[in-house]
Symmetry: C2
Subunit: 306 residues, 2 copies
C-alpha cells in the first residue's frame, strides 16, 4: 500500500527528527528524507553519520516538493520557521510538528499555512534526556503514543495518512483536543519536569552537602530526578513559557498537597503519610498493567521528553 509520503522534510535534526529518520528507514517506508537544521554544525554531523538521505542548507530547499513537513525544533522557533517555509510548501502537502505544547504551536504556525496545505499538529510522547543529531534511534517510538490534534476542518484523508505514518514508525495514535492535550501533558510531563529541575537545583545549592556527595550517593530517588532534569534546556524553557497556565495550575495543586504532607511529617501523623503512599502505589500498578512500563527489576528507558 502506497499511502506513505514520497518525500519527507525534517526541520530541526535533534532527538525526535533523527529518531524519525532511523524509524522511517527501519520501516522501509520508501520515502526520501530531506533534512535541515539551523546550525551548520548540526548539518555537518548529520551528513557525517548518514542522517537523512539529503541534508540541505535552507528552509526553502528542505520543504520543496515535500509531501510531509515535520517541524521538530523548539516551540519558540516555530513561528519564524512557518513564516519562512510557507511560500515554498507543495500544494496538498501536510505540515505537522512534534512540539510538547499544542495550543501555542497552533497559534504560532496555523496563520502561516497557505490554503491547500494540511496542518495537523502532533506530539509523540517519547524521548530520552539526550539531544542533538547523534541521539536518535529507530526504536524511540515503539509502543509509545503519538497524539494528533486535528480540528473540524482537517481533511480526513490527510489525517488518516499521518496516522498510518506514525503507526509505521512504531507508535500508537490518539486524537486529542489541543487544550485538553496541554492539561494532560502539564500533569504527566511538564509539572514533573519542573519539579525535578527544582530538586536537582536545590541539591546543587546546598553548601553542607557537597556536590561530590550528592553525585556519589545518588543511587536512590534523586538519580531519577537528575535524568529528567538533564533534558534539553531550550526545549523545556519553551514548554513552560508556552504552557504557562496549565503548568502553573498543576504546580499550585502540587504545592498545596506538599504542604499537607509536610504538616503530617511535622506533627508526626504517620497514618496520613501511610494512606497517601498506599494510594500512589496503586497508580504505579495501573501504569504497569497499561503496558507503559515493566515491573522487572532491571527495566528502564530514558523517557524524559514530553
Amino acid at each position: 500500500m502506497s499511502v506513505h509520503y514520497e518525500r519527507i522534510a525534517l526541520i530541526g535534526l535533534g532527538l525526535i527528527a533523527s529518531s524519525m529518520h532511523w524509524a522511517i528507514k527501519r520501516g522501509n517506508l520508501g520515502a526520501h528524507v530531506v533534512g535541515y537544521a539551523r546550525s551548520a554544525e548540526t548539518r555537518d554531523v548529520a551528513r557525517e553519520i548518514g542522517l537523512c538521505d539529503t541534508v540541505v542548507d535552507s528552509l526553502a530547499e528542505v520543504v520543496r516538493n515535500a509531501d510531509l513537513v515535520v517541524l521538530a525544533m523548539p516551540i519558540g522557533a516555530m513561528e519564524d520557521v512557518a513564516r519562512n517555509i510557507a511560500p515554498h510548501l507543495k500544494p496538498g502537502a501536510t505540515v505537522t510538528d512534534v512540539g510538547s505544547v499544542k495550543r501555542a504551536v497552533i497559534e504560532a504556525v496555523a496563520p502561516h499555512i497557505p490554503d491547500g496545505v494540511h496542518f495537523i499538529p502532533g506530539h509523540p510522547l517519547a524521548g530520552t534526556e539526550h539531544s542533538g543529531p547523534r541521539s536518535g534511534f529507530a526504536e524511540l517510538f515503539d509502543n509509545r503514543w503519538c497524539l494528533l490534534v486535528p480540528d473540524e476542518s482537517t481533511d480526513p484523508d490527510a489525517l488518516g495518512r499521518l496516522t498510518e505514518f506514525w503507526e509505521a514508525l512504531g507508535a500508537h495514535v490518539d486524537v486529542m483536543d489541543p487544550d485538553h492535550h496541554d492539561l494532560v501533558l502539564a500533569v504527566t510531563s511538564h509539572a514533573p519536569h519542573l519539579i525535578a529541575y527544582t530538586m536537582v537545583g536545590v541539591a546543587d545549592d546546598l553548601r553542607r552537602v557537597t556536590d561530590s556527595e550528592v553525585i556519589k550517593y545518588s543511587a536512590a530517588g534523586f538519580r531519577d530526578f537528575t535524568r529528567i532534569a538533564a533534558s534539553d534546556p531550550t526545549m523545556w524553557r519553551d514548554v513552560f513559557l508556552t504552557n504557562k497556565d496549565a503548568t502553573l495550575e498543576i504546580l499550585g495543586r502540587f504545592t498545596e498537597e506538599l504542604f499537607a504532607l509536610q504538616r503530617a511529617i511535622r506533627t508526626g501523623d504517620g497514618e496520613h503519610l501511610f494512606d497517601y503512599f498506599t494510594r500512589t502505589r496503586a497508580i504505579r500498578r495501573g501504569i504497569i498493567e497499561a503496558g507503559q512500563d515493566t515491573a522487572a527489576p532491571d527495566f528502564g528507558r530514558g523517557g524524559s521528553k514530553g
Copy 2:
C-alpha cells in the same frame, strides 16, 4: 580467608534482606543464613522459595549463636525488635541494620545492645520499588554504596569485618557520621521521594484529567515519579517520621526554589529558566561520570529505596 560470619541472622525478609541472602549465596561466603519475619505468611513464602538456609518462628531463635544480626525491618519496628533480641545475642556478635535514617535507629537500638556485642549501624544505598520476600536478587548491591556509621567506641576489628562482608556482597563501603548521613539522604533520597509521592497524588486527584489518561500517557517524566512513589509505604512513613528535621529543611529550600521558577514562568523570564535548566543538566553529567548511572538510552535500574 575466614573473616566472614559463620552464622548470619536476617530479621525482616523484605527486599533488602532477601537480596542479602542471594548475594551471600552468590559470593560463596559459606555462612549459614537464618531468617525470621514477623508475618507467618512471609515466613511461608521464604520457605517455599528457599530464602534463607533456615527460617525460624521467633526472634529468640533467629539470633541464637548468630555472629551477625541484620535488622532489616521498617525503622519504626526496630526498638521493639532490639529489646526482644537483646537477651539472646551471642557475646562478640555484631548487630547492624539497613535503615534509611541513622540517628533515629541509634536512639532506638543502641540502648538495648548488651556489653560485648558490637552495634554498627549501616545503610546500603540500593533498592527497587518492589518489596517483600520475593523481590530480592543477588545483584542489588553491586557497585552501590553501603554507608556504615560507627562511633568512637566501635571495635576496629568488628568494623573491618562488616566492611569486608558488604564488599563481598558487591558494595563499596564508606563511613559517615549519623547526622551528616541523615542530611545527605534527605537531599538525595528522602525529599525526592516525598516530592514524587506528592506529584503522583496530585495527578490522581485531578478530575478533568482521568486516571486512564494519566496512566496511558505517562511515557514522559511522570512515569519516573510513579516508580519512585511505588516504594513501600510503611518504610517511607517511618523514614519521614524519623528524619523529620532534615527532610523538612530540604523541603523548605525546595519550595523556595520552586516559587522562584513559578514566578519566572508567570513573568515569561525565559533566561532564568534556561540558565537553571542548563545548571541542572551538568549535575546529571557528573553522576554519569561518577559511574552511578549510564548514558545509554536503554539503561535503568529500579533505584528507589534510600
